[in-house]
Symmetry: C2
Amino acid sequence: MADAQVTAQERSTLSRIAADADVSTSTVSKVLNGRAGVSEATRARVEDLLHQHGYQRRGLRDPAALIELVFANFSTVWALEILRGVQTAAAARGLGVVVTESGDHRAPGPEWMDGVLQRNPIGVVLVLSGVTRSQRQQLQARGIPVVIVDPAGNPAPGVASVGSANWNGGLSATRHLLQLGHRRIGIIGGPVDMICSRARLAGYRSALEEAGVPVCEELILAGDFERDSGLRQAQRLLALPDPPTAIFACNDLMALGVYEAARLAGLTIPDDLSVIGYDDLNVAEWTGPPLTTVRQPLLEMGRQAAQMVLSLDETGPAPRVDLATDLIIRQSTGPAPS
Amino acid sequence: MADAQVTAQERSTLSRIAADADVSTSTVSKVLNGRAGVSEATRARVEDLLHQHGYQRRGLRDPAALIELVFANFSTVWALEILRGVQTAAAARGLGVVVTESGDHRAPGPEWMDGVLQRNPIGVVLVLSGVTRSQRQQLQARGIPVVIVDPAGNPAPGVASVGSANWNGGLSATRHLLQLGHRRIGIIGGPVDMICSRARLAGYRSALEEAGVPVCEELILAGDFERDSGLRQAQRLLALPDPPTAIFACNDLMALGVYEAARLAGLTIPDDLSVIGYDDLNVAEWTGPPLTTVRQPLLEMGRQAAQMVLSLDETGPAPRVDLATDLIIRQSTGPAPS
C-alpha cells in the first residue's frame, strides 16, 4: 500500500541510486526502511548516494504516529519534566513518545538509529545530546526532522533547538542577593566548557557591575553540576579569610552540596549564609530550608521542542528558541548579616 | 500483507461476530485495529462479541516492535528508575518504549487506549496504575499482554505483576534502629488503604515483638507519602511527653519532612534523632546528613516487568514476583541517646 505513494520522479531517483551503488532498488528500499540483510559497506554507499542526490522524503512509508525522545541520561527529575512536556504536546496530537536513554552526550548509538529507521517516527527530539553527521544525513534522507533540547546552550550548528535564557537567570539570581544587602557573593559555576555555565557567570558579573560591586576572582569557583563539587567548593569559599555571606550555586544539586558544607561548618541558612540555586528541581522545595532558586521552564521546553519538531520547515534556517527563567524566592536567602 | 496471516478459522470467527453485531467484517477489523470511522455503540458491541467468542490473537497485523509503558504520574525520580529498567530490557531486544503519563491511578484514559490499538505493541507495562475491565478485554482480544509494576502491593486480580518485599523492608529498617539501642521508635506510615503501607507497618511491629519491645500505638502515625505529611506527623511525634529517639518514615519524601521537623525543633540528626526512610531516591544521598533508607530495587523491577511482558503465558495463572529490598546505612541513624 505505502509503495503506491512513491512518485514516478522518486522512483527514478531511487533507480539511479541503485544503479550508481550497483545494487537492486529493493536494497535501496531496505536501507531507507532500516531493514536487515544489507552489508555495512553497501548501506554506507547507499546512504552517501541518497545524501548526494539530496534525497529527502518520508521514506517509502507513511510515518508512524510517534515522536522519538532521546536523553543522554535520566539521572535527575530534570528528565521527567522535559518528558512530561514532550508527552503533553504529543498526546494532544494523538502521538506516542518512544523514550530512550542513550548514555552518551555526543550521540545515541547505532542500535537506536536502527530502531528509529524501522519505527519511522514523525520527528526526533534529543535532550542534552547531539547526533553524528551520518545520523543527521540518514534522518534527513527520510525527512525526519530533529530538534535538540539544549539548556546547556551548545547546539550543533544547523540543528533546531530549544534552550533557556541563562544569562538572564544568572543576572536575576545575583540581583536578588545584592538587593538583600550582600556584597561578598560567592559563585560556584558549572563546567567551564559549557556555554550555559559561562552565560550564568556572565550574568553574575553583569549584576555586580550594575550595582558597582567589585568582582573578586577568589569568589568565583567552578563545579561540575554534581552535589559533591558544590560541597567541596563551598568549603573552599567558607575557608577564605573574608568568606562570602551568600553563595550562588549554578544548579540545585550543587546548592545541596553548599547546604551540607554549611551544616558541617555549623552555619545556619539563611541567617549565617544565603544560598541560591538554579533549575528548581523538586528537591529544591523539599530541602530544609526550602531553596531559593532560578526556575528553568523544563516542562515548557519539552512542549516547545515537540511542537517545533512537528512543524519544522527544513528548508529554512534552523530555529533557536530560548525560554525565560523565573526567580523562585523561598527561605534560603535572607538579609546580609550586619 | 498482514491480512494473509489471518487463518481460515479466524476469518470464520470474525464473520460470525460481524453477523451477530450486524456490521461488515471490515468494521470488525477496524475495531480490532483501533481505526476511526466506527461509532462508540458499534465498537462496544463488537468488543463484547470478541470477548464472548474468546477471540484472542495478535490482531490482524504483526505487532510493532514496541512496549507501552504507562505511569500514573511522573512526580519523582522513582519513575525514572523504573523507566530505565524497562528501557534496558526492551533495548536488549531491539524494542522501543512508548511512555505515557496518564494522571490517573485507576486506569489510563480512552485516548491512550486508541493510541495503543493503533500502535499494536508487543505488550503493556503499567506502573502504579490499573486498567479497566473493558481495556483488559480489548487488550486480551488482541493478544497484548499486561504486566503491572506495583510496589504498592495491590494488583488487580488476574493481572501479572512485579512488586517488592514490603514486610521485609519494614522489618529490616526497624531491626536496624533496635540494634542501635532505640526503644521508642516512631513510625510514619503511608496511606492506610495501600497494602504496601500495611506491610511495612506489620514489619515494624514484628521487629519490635521479636526484640520484646512493646508496641506503643501513640508512636504509630499515618502520612500520605508526601513530604509535608512527614513534617506534620514528625512534629506530632516530637511533641509527645516521651518523644521517640528514632523515626522510621515509610518513604524518603516523608523522611525529608522529618528532617525539616528536626531542623525547626533545633534537633541534630542523628545525635538527637535517628531517621530512616524507604525507597532510596537519589535525594536520600543528597540530604544532610545522607539518609539511611530501605532501597527498593526500582530499576530491577522495571527490567523484570519488561521481561515478564515479553514472555507471558496468558493461559496460565498471572505471575506475581516480589523483589528483595536492601538496607542502605548512611549517616542519619546512630546510637540511641543515653
